[in-house]
């Protein structure tokens, strides 16, 4: 009396639509080495990012804002006889404007995207869908990090190129003074570094948001943690500076040194150094580049290690 030999299975064998159409296509597997799996998962993460309404809206907001900023400059240049304002629409300044527009308000957008991409898997429960398929949890985390890095690269590139193009097109409508020559090898090199730093700037906040998203197992934690960090850092820097003048001795020294270890300050230092070469802007900080870079890399390694450890160890119960 094997239960499988019941009338039910007979009807399943006979003529039901279900019975006829059992999958015939084979399961074709791709390469299974660590890197191939990682690349495939990164592509998967990018696909999800690309298809998410949030990413699309963010991209639209960023592009529109860039357009608006340049359009505002264009309007300001109406009554400007000397052509000083029109010059802002042209490189090299227009590049700086485009990148600063991307960095100052839109780091928040990257935090929102990264925080929800990590925490959202927990919030939605899709984490158990991923973690039961075969690749390791670390691979899934690294894929997210890789996808965010690519997202930052694409974002900064698209925004700075759009800025350059929009600025140039608008400048055509005005009497633009012929620009001073700036296009040298050294300029290109520093501009490249400047753009890399802008990407790094976004990426480090994306890592912070990923970290908090995983720590708090929710989009809200990722987004909230990232934004609070982003907004709190300058305030902490200010407080340290002010209070270091009120106290003496080692405490004062500590308070004075602390801002040098804040992410925002180190990023600002690095970018200002490159800006000095590109735009002739004055460098504000005395921190050496290498030290700033080390501090930032230490943050990334530390945050990703903790996130990776949590991700690897924890029970998935939602």
């Amino acid at each position: 009396m094997h239960p499988i030999d019941t009338g039910l299975s007979t009807s399943a064998r006979e003529g039901q639509p279900l019975a006829e159409q059992f999958a015939s296509a084979p399961v074709l597997l791709g390469r299974r080495d660590y890197l191939s799996v990682l690349l495939r998962l990164t592509a998967m993460e990018l696909y999800k990012l690309r298809r998410r309404p949030l990413t699309r809206i963010s991209a639209l907001i960023a592009l529109l804002t860039t357009l608006l900023v340049f359009f505002a400059l264009f309007l300001f240049s109406t009554g400007d006889g000397s052509g000083q304002v029109v010059r802002l629409l042209l490189p090299p300044t227009s590049l700086n404007i485009a990148v600063q527009t991307a960095l100052t308000p839109f780091t928040i957008l990257i935090i929102i995207i990264a925080g929800s991409t990590a925490g959202g898997e927990y919030t939605q429960g899709t984490i158990r869908l991923l973690f039961t398929r075969g690749p390791t949890r670390t691979q899934f985390l690294l894929a997210k990090v890789g996808a965010m890095l690519i997202c930052c690269i694409v974002g900064i590139s698209v925004l700075s190129i759009s800025g350059l193009v929009i600025g140039y097109l608008l400048s055509l409508l005005r009497q633009a003074p012929s620009p001073a020559p700036f296009l040298t090898t050294s300029w290109l090199l520093h501009t490249g570094l400047f753009l890399l730093l802008a990407i790094f700037n976004w990426f480090i906040f994306a890592v912070i948001a990923l970290f908090f998203g995983i720590l708090g197992r929710s989009s809200a934690a990722g987004i909230g943690g990232g934004i609070v960090w982003y907004l709190l850092e300058p305030i902490i820097g200010q407080i340290c500076q002010l209070s270091s003048e009120l106290v003496q001795g080692p405490v004062s020294a500590f308070l004075r040194a602390l801002p040098d270890y804040l992410i925002g300050n180190n990023l600002a230092t690095l970018m200002a150094h490159q800006g000095y070469y590109i735009f002739g802007s004055s460098s504000i900080s005395t921190l050496p580049d290498a030290e700033a870079l080390t501090v930032l890399l230490a943050y990334i390694v530390l945050l990703l290690s903790i996130a990776g450890w949590l991700n690897h160890r924890r029970d998935i119960t939602n």
Binding site: M1, H2, V27, L28, T132, P135
Partner: protein, 369 residues
Amino acid sequence: MNDIMLTEEDDIIISTTRLTKAFGNLVAVNDLNLRVMRGDVFGFLGPNGSGKTTTIRMLLGLIRPTAGRAFIFGMDTHYQLPRILRRIGAVVETPVFYPYLSGRDNLRIIAAASDMARHPLTDKRIEEILELVELRSQAGLAYHKYSLGMKQRLGIAAALLTDPELILLDEPTNGLDPVGMVEIRQLIVRLAQQGKTIFLSSHILHEVQQVCNRVAILHRGNLIKQGDVSALLRQSEHILIRMNSAAEARAALQALQEARERGASWIKAIVAVGVGPSEQPGKASEASGEVATTLRVEAPAERSAEINALLAQRNLFAAAIHPQEGSLEEAFLELTAAAQLHGAAASGLGGLPAPAPYGRIVPGEGKRQ
């Protein structure tokens, strides 16, 4: 238990030894020893909160056992999880997918996460699987617009996508309409015919009775029974005999007891029950006096003619004899009721001799009431 000893190692698909999970003070799964053989359709039963999902999560490596270990395909889930997972398809609780993606795109995500190549054949397979669960016409619809039943179907589609050897389904028919339930059952039967091993957690006992050949019953984290469905059904088979008066019932009871003592060993037990045969036959009691006109004889249903003859020899004529086929539901209710009574003492009933576990054992483990 002998058949387990005799089978090849290769044929054991899932085996757990003293698998335990505690959430703080709550022992969700206690000392679980499961054996699932190749080709089994294994029903995993238990009341709400008995630890079914927790066990499935441990098997899939989603949560770490507090103690004990689980082997799938002979590999330890603690050390070889990726290799194990690549041969498993699973739905844990209500399936979840990315709400903004369509069913088809969600399956593409699953394919990528399961190491399937980006290739037209993969797309073809996705279409075929969608057809199989009858979702093809809604495959382009965003997942958040799916009904519960459609979500369940997509979950099953995801589980079948990689043509796995072992399929773990956690209440797969939850939320399906009757037609959908039958279809999923048929699908399970077909998968079994293809030689797949299926581990099916469910509340729906008649469903399990129809498709499963083996079951394990969990109660508050303890395994109270593990075995063949047919044996379990035979166990709960019985015959109800209604006599015309309480006095006749007492006489019949005595006659049958004597017959058993004289060697009719197929009569396992006889009890007088106070209620009619059609209502609550499971609630047997040693009711006294006037009300008890019905006897419940624990015996194979096909023996009712013999019982009739036995009684007739003593000039006792039953008003009615109802042979009752065994049902999993009844067996389940009896077993869980007994477990409730005996508490943790019942935990060893279905278990197998277990080797020492590794890992930490929480204080109080196994002492839970």
